[in-house]
Amino acid sequence: MTDRNMLVMGAVAYAPKVVTIWEGFRQFFEANGLPFDFVLYSNYERQVEALFDGSIHVAWNSPLAWLRAERMGKAVGKPVSTIAMRDSDRDLTSLIVVRADADIRQIADLSGRTVAVGAVDSPQATLLPLYCLHRQGIKAGEDFAIQRHDQLGGKHGDHIGGEREAARALLAGKADAACMIAGNHLLFTNEGTLPAGSTRILAETPRYDHCNFTVAADAPPSLVARMRELLLGMSWEDPALRPLLELEGLRQWMPERVEGYRDLDAAVDVFGFYDPSGNITCVDYHY
């Protein structure tokens, strides 16, 4: 196990700004009496495994990584917990959009069509929208074809590129529908990737939650408690913190909650992404 007098957190380096963000937060934690260091991983799978081999105490996790850690923790008798999330991680939805002039009026009309999705490991652009369709009775790979836009495997869809490629494929007529998080549909519409009026929303997923801080069972409790306290106390009005919060895409850290991961957990089972013990069972997943 790593030094018990210092809290060590893992983060996935999905973009260069991750260094700026966590170096800044590290200084804030240190200045406020929390000995803190961070380790960067290139993918969430290795980061989750590190929660169980003693390399890190805490992981800044995607929702999919949280679910894997939860499964692995139960399997080995070291249940994980969570301490906080961003305000912007709560109550998200994803959209399944079609071209405005398409003769697709309801979800059943997707039968025999091609649906563009993001990366295979993207909760918002692949797993959750496909699960939404599944619940409505049409099955990916059977009733309709999936067109994947894999970008940066192992980053659990943190990279926007896959969603943008799916949107472009829809507009170019290479797919009949495309899946993306609602905020990106607004972004793609305003940036011109999807000209205003060119698409129509066919379906919207139920609300779900995104990232969280996942804590290993054997993490030093007092340091974890201090980290949670400092996170929840961070003020957007603090000129030293605001640039970091903006880079990380939040205004306020919020207390933990896990109800928002239920649909994704079900999707992981339905599509066989992980097994109940957290082993990777998705065959064509590369990271």
Binding site: D87, T93, L95, A182, R200, W236, E237, R242
Partner: protein, 406 residues
Amino acid sequence: MCSGSTTLRATLPVSTITIERLDAAGALLLKRALRNLPPGESLMVTGDSPELAAHLAAWCRARGHCWQTSEVPHLLGSIHPGSLDQRRWQGALTTGALASGGVADRAEPRWGLAARGAHVEASAPAFHFPLSDKVMIWANEAPKLYAQAVAAQWNPDEAIDWTQPIELPEDIEAAVVQVMTYLIENENAALLVPARFLAQMHPHFREVMQLLAIQVADEARHIEVFTRRIALKGHQPALSTAGGQASLKTLLDTPDFAIALFLLSVLGEGTFVNLLNFLSAHAPDPITRQVARLAAQDEARHVAFGMAHLQYQLAQDPALRDRLANAIEQRFESLATTDGLNEEVMDALLLLAAGSWLPAALLAGQEKVMALQQDMTAGRRLRLVKLGFPEAQAARLADLHTRNFM
């Protein structure tokens, strides 16, 4: 933060906005409506576009607003504005005021490049401008001098008739070329010294920054016209002496703005006004006379700013006067071992003023050069007195000034 899962069931008579799309224009309308909302109230949103509800939810989440969907027909939902947008500017820094009277005594590093009077977000980066104190930079005349400088800009192509025929004896032409060569190296110093301090100056002191920028442009133009005068008859520049360059190097090596301004502008450029006036009166050809006259007008402004700033700083820091006096003494000491006489230039000035090799003409030229040197010393003494130096000290310091003029 809102729970996000509540659903609005009843409506109250509150502010309502209808938007077509949440594009940049729609967002602008929305932001204005939110700004104008009475405190504590929500904004109802109506609209027909089927994607609006999903877009509004994402838009509100990204801005910390609370979005509640509605079950009332035609009503999409309501926005309860978060307070973070206003709080962003709560700790904003105030930076003086636009007018020259609004200059602060000290410009803060975090004011950075903002226009004077702007509100600067508190998390803006710090800029470390070494010259950030008003007392070190300011002159009350700076706004007026800047306006004069802008109005007095001239185009060398139009202000000078480069096509006038000039036929000077070869050695008189050579004397003109030597003087121009000398002027150019002095202009190079006069350009670089303010440019270096300009780059250290906090832009809060807008008028001084603008004035020095124009001064640098003036010097660039002087370099141009003197260079063109050399090239007029197909010559290359002539001689550059070690003593002349050593004298100028002391200006570039001066790290203190007040001392640099004193040595360069008050003493050097002030002396140069005499030299340029001499050339505009006695040069043997109309083009040389013209370029000297135009440059002299600009130089007078450069001297005026140097005087104005030093008077401002001396009024608040009289001890500066001793440092200025010491700077002249030190420069004199450090140049004592160099050949500061610059014989090539002095000979060329005499010959140029004589206009020919006839003994009577040479004698007249010699008298003109002697008168020039007396004018220079008298001018320096006068400016030193204006800066508050006692008469006797002013006379002594005026004599100690470099024999290189600049």
